[in-house]
C-alpha cells in the first residue's frame, strides 16, 4: 500500500505512443521475442497491445492477478478507463454498458464470478455488444474450491457468444488479441470469451513469444457495427433488442426468433476470421493415425505428451486440438476423424461436455469407437500416464 500520487501535467499515456495495426499484422507478421512468463502475464501482454478503452475488474482467484495488471496498464496509460466494480453482475452489466457506448471493453473472471455474472453475460450476444471476457476456469460446485476445473464453459456453450479455449500461455496471448478484433467485425458484432484452465496456465510459467509493445491493435470504431451504438447519434429507430418483445403474438415470436437466428449466423461468420488469425480452428498431429485424441485447453498439453511418449514406443497416436469451441469447427473435425478407429476425449470436468459435442458432430459420419473419457475434475491435473493407460485400454476393448 502507498498513497496515490497525481500524474504530472505533462504526462503522456503510454498507449498514445503505440502504433495501431491490424490483428493480422500483430499475430501473423510482426517478429516476436520469446519470454518465459505466467498465463496472467501473457494476458497482461495481450491487454497492453489490445487498445482497450475500458476495463472493469473484480477480484477472484485465480483471475485477480490479470485484472490487477490491467490496473497497472491503466495507470501507465495503455488503457483509458478502469475501475473495480461492485461485484460480477455489476461488472458484466457495466462492461456491456461500455461496449454499448461504442468503445472496446474487457473484463475477466473465474468460475463462481462467471456464474454470478451469467444472467448479464448470456444477454450480451443478443444485445450485439462486443466485450472480451477472459475466463480463468475454477471449480464452481460445492465443496467450494479454487482449483481448476472447466465445467463452467459448458454453461455458456449455447449463449451465442464466441468461445475460445486456450491450451497454454501462448494461446492465451494470441487468442485474446484475435478476439478483440474479430468481435468487432460488422458481420460478427458479438462478444467473446477466452477461457484457460486456471492456475495450470494462469500461475504457471511457460514460453510465450510476443511482438513488440510498440504496437497495438487498431482502435474500435464505434460507428462500424451491425447495430448502432447507444450514443444517440442516429435518428430514432426502434431496435428490437431493446424493445420489450413479450406480447404473446406471432409478430413478437417471429421477431425474437429471427433476432436469435441472426446471432447464431453471425457466430458462424466469425469462423473465417479465426481460421486465418489462429492458423486454423483445429490443430492436427499425426493425421494418418487410427487412434485419436481430441480435446481443448489444458487437456491438449497432456495429450501432446502422451502422443510423444507413445511415439517413443513406436505407436502412432493422432491429436486434434479444438481452438474455437464456438463456432464449433464441425466440418474440420469430421474430416480429421472420419477414418479414426478409436477416439479418446480427455477432459478437465465431470460432465464431459466436449465428449457430448464431439459425439453429436460425429454421429453417423464416423465408425470409430468413442471412449467416454478420461476425465479429472475438482482441480486435479490429468497425468500423462492416465491418458496412456486409457489408450491401452481402448486398444484392448476395441481391437
Amino acid at each position: 500500500m502507498s498513497n496515490a500520487v497525481a500524474k504530472p501535467k505533462d504526462w503522456v499515456p503510454k498507449g498514445d505512443l503505440q502504433k495501431e495495426i491490424s490483428a493480422e499484422k500483430m499475430l501473423l507478421e510482426l517478429p516476436r521475442e520469446l519470454l518465459f512468463i505466467t498465463g496472467s502475464e501473457a494476458a497482461r501482454e495481450a491487454i497492453k497491445r489490445a487498445n482497450i478503452d475500458c476495463a472493469i475488474s473484480y477480484p477472484i482467484t485465480p483471475q485477480s492477478e490479470t485484472m490487477q495488471q490491467a490496473g497497472y496498464l491503466y495507470d501507465e496509460g495503455y488503457i483509458k478507463e478502469y475501475y473495480r466494480a461492485e461485484e460480477e453482475i455489476g461488472v458484466m452489466s457495466a462492461t456491456a454498458g461500455a461496449s454499448r457506448a461504442g468503445v472496446r471493453a474487457l473484463t475477466a473472471t473465474s468460475g463462481p464470478g462467471l456464474m454470478r455474472g451469467m444472467e448479464a453475460i448470456s444477454s450480451w450476444p443478443g444485445a450485439r455488444v462486443t466485450p472480451v471476457l477472459l475466463d480463468m476456469c475454477r471449480v464452481i460446485n460445492t465443496p467450494l474450491a479454487i482449483q481448476p476445473d472447466n465445467i463452467e464453459i459448458s454453461f455458456l456453450l449455447n449463449t451465442g457468444m464466441i468461445m475460445l479455449h486456450a491450451e497454454n500461455q501462448q494461446d492465451f496471448f494470441d487468442y485474446t488479441l484475435a478476439a478483440c478484433e474479430v468481435t468487432e467485425h460488422v458481420d460478427v458484432t458479438l462478444p467473446a470469451m477466452v477461457s484457460v484452465d486456471g492456475f495450470f496456465v494462469t500461475h504457471a510459467r511457460g514460453p510465450v513469444s510476443i511482438p513488440s509493445d510498440e504496437y497495438k491493435l487498431n482502435r474500435r470504431d464505434g460507428w462500424r457495427s451491425a447495430v448502432p451504438a447507444m450514443d444517440n447519434e442516429n435518428p430514432p429507430a426502434r431496435i428490437s433488442r431493446d424493445a420489450p418483445i413479450q406480447k404473446s403474438n406471432f409478430i413478437s415470436y417471429h421477431m425474437h426468433a429471427s433476432w436469435q437466428q441472426e446471432v447464431f449466423a453471425a457466430l458462424e461468420r466469425s469462423g473465417k476470421y479465426f481460421e486465418k488469425l489462429l492458423k486454423g480452428r483445429i490443430e492436427i498431429i499425426n493425421p494418418e493415425a487410427e487412434d485419436f485424441i481430441i480435446c481443448s485447453g489444458s487437456a491438449v498439453s497432456q495429450a501432446r505428451e502422451a502422443v510423444r511418449q507413445e511415439g517413443e514406443n513406436g505407436r502412432v497416436v493422432g491429436l486434434v486440438k479444438v481452438k474455437t469451441l464456438r463456432p464449433f469447427p464441425t466440418t474440420s473435425i469430421v474430416n480429421a476423424l472420419k477414418n479414426a478407429k478409436r477416439i479418446l476425449i480427455p477432459e478437465f470436468n465431470q460432465a464431459g461436455w466436449m465428449h457430448k459435442e464431439v459425439c453429436s458432430v460425429l454421429y453417423g459420419k464416423c465408425k470409430a469407437n468413442i471412449v467416454d473419457g478420461p476425465r479429472v475434475f475438482g482441480g486435479m491435473t490429468m497425468p500423462t500416464e492416465m491418458v496412456i493407460e486409457w489408450l491401452a485400454k481402448a486398444r484392448k476393448d476395441f481391437p
Binding site: 478503452d53 483509458k80 455489476g90 452489466s93 454498458g97 444517440n232 430514432p236 424493445a243
Partner: protein, 284 residues
C-alpha cells in the same frame, strides 16, 4: 445527435410516417418546453401500453419533456412497468437485465465520455422501486458511492407492479400484498437517507402533482449529473391496479399521499447548489 441528424434529406420527409414528420417539424429537439406547452408540440413519447390512468405514465411523460437535451440523452431501464412506456420514447433506451440499470449506466457513461470528449451525453437510469433498491441495490449504492455522473430516477409505486403486485422494499409496513400475506413486516426503505449517506449531490422527492415542478426537478437532476456528480429523484407514481385506486381518483391519491408523507423535498450538496445557482442566474 441533433435536429440535423433526424432531418431526412430533402424530398424524403413527406415519405416518412406522419409521426416522424411531426417529430422533425414540431418536436422538442433544441427547444425548452414548459408544462403549459403540453398538447402544443410533438412529445417524445405518446403511445404506450401501460394501464389506463396509471400515474407512472404521466410522470414518465413529464420526464421526457423535462430532458434538458433529449438529442444527447440515453435512458437505461429494466424490467418493470415503466419500461413499457420508456421504450416507446424517441430517445435511445437500453433494456438490460432486471436490476442492472446503475451498473450498466456506469459503464455506458464512462464509454460515452471516452468517445465524445467534446459533447456531454446525459445518461438517465429510470426504473421501478423493486428494480432499483431490491434486486438492484448494490449496483445503485455503489454507483452513488463512486459518484457516477448520471441521474437515477425511481418510479416508486411501492409494489412490484409488472409481476402482479408483490411487496417491495418500498412498500409501507403493514400493507397486505402478494408475498406479504400477513402484511409487510418491515418499514419502507429510506432511500433518500441512503442517497444522502452515499454523498449524492442532488436528491429530490416528488409526487406528480405539479407538472412544472416535475420538469424543473428533472432538469436540475440531469444538469447536476452532467456537471457535478450523482443525482437521484424518488417519484411517487401510484399503481392504481394493485392499490385499487379508481382511475378518476389517481390524482386525488397523489395529492393526499403528497400531503401525508410524500411532500416535495430537495437535498442539494453545497457544490451542486452553487452550480445550480449559477445556471439559474445565467438564465435571467
Amino acid at each position: 445527435m441533433s435536429l440535423d441528424t433526424i432531418k431526412p434529406s430533402p424530398g424524403f420527409l413527406e415519405h416518412l410516417p406522419i409521426e416522424y414528420q411531426d417529430l422533425v417539424n414540431h418536436g422538442q429537439y433544441g427547444k425548452k418546453m414548459k408544462a403549459s406547452d403540453m398538447g402544443k408540440f410533438k412529445e417524445l413519447i405518446e403511445e404506450h401500453p401501460m394501464c389506463a390512468g396509471c400515474a407512472m405514465t404521466l410522470f414518465i411523460r413529464l420526464v421526457f419533456i423535462g430532458l434538458p437535451n433529449p438529442e444527447h440523452s440515453v435512458i437505461v431501464g429494466t424490467a418493470g412497468c415503466g419500461r413499457l412506456a420508456i421504450s416507446q420514447g424517441n430517445v435511445p433506451f437500453i433494456y438490460g437485465n432486471y436490476g442492472d440499470t446503475n451498473s450498466t449506466a456506469s459503464g455506458l457513461k464512462r464509454g460515452l465520455e471516452l468517445r465524445f470528449p467534446n459533447q456531454k451525453k446525459d445518461v438517465i437510469a429510470m426504473c421501478g422501486d423493486g428494480g432499483l433498491v431490491d434486486i438492484g441495490f448494490q449496483g445503485l449504492m455503489h454507483s452513488w458511492f463512486r459518484n457516477e455522473k448520471f441521474a437515477t430516477i425511481m418510479l416508486d409505486n411501492e409494489v412490484y407492479g409488472n409481476t402482479g403486485g408483490q411487496e417491495s422494499g418500498m412498500t409501507l409496513k403493514g400493507k397486505v400484498l402478494k408475498m406479504a400475506p400477513r402484511g409487510k413486516v418491515d418499514e419502507k426503505m429510506d432511500v433518500m437517507g441512503l442517497a444522502k449517506v452515499a454523498g449524492v449531490d442532488y436528491i429530490a422527492r416528488i409526487a406528480p402533482t405539479n407538472p412544472g415542478r416535475v420538469l424543473r426537478t428533472v432538469r436540475r437532476a440531469i444538469l447536476v449529473a452532467r456537471e457535478i456528480g450523482s443525482s437521484y429523484i424518488q417519484a411517487y407514481t401510484s399503481c392504481n391496479i394493485e392499490y385499487s385506486i379508481p382511475t378518476p381518483d389517481v390524482m386525488k391519491d397523489a395529492f393526499d399521499i403528497e400531503k401525508e408523507r410524500y411532500g416535495f423535498e430537495e437535498i442539494v450538496s453545497d457544490r451542486a447548489k452553487k452550480f445550480l445557482d449559477e445556471v439559474e442566474k445565467k438564465k435571467k
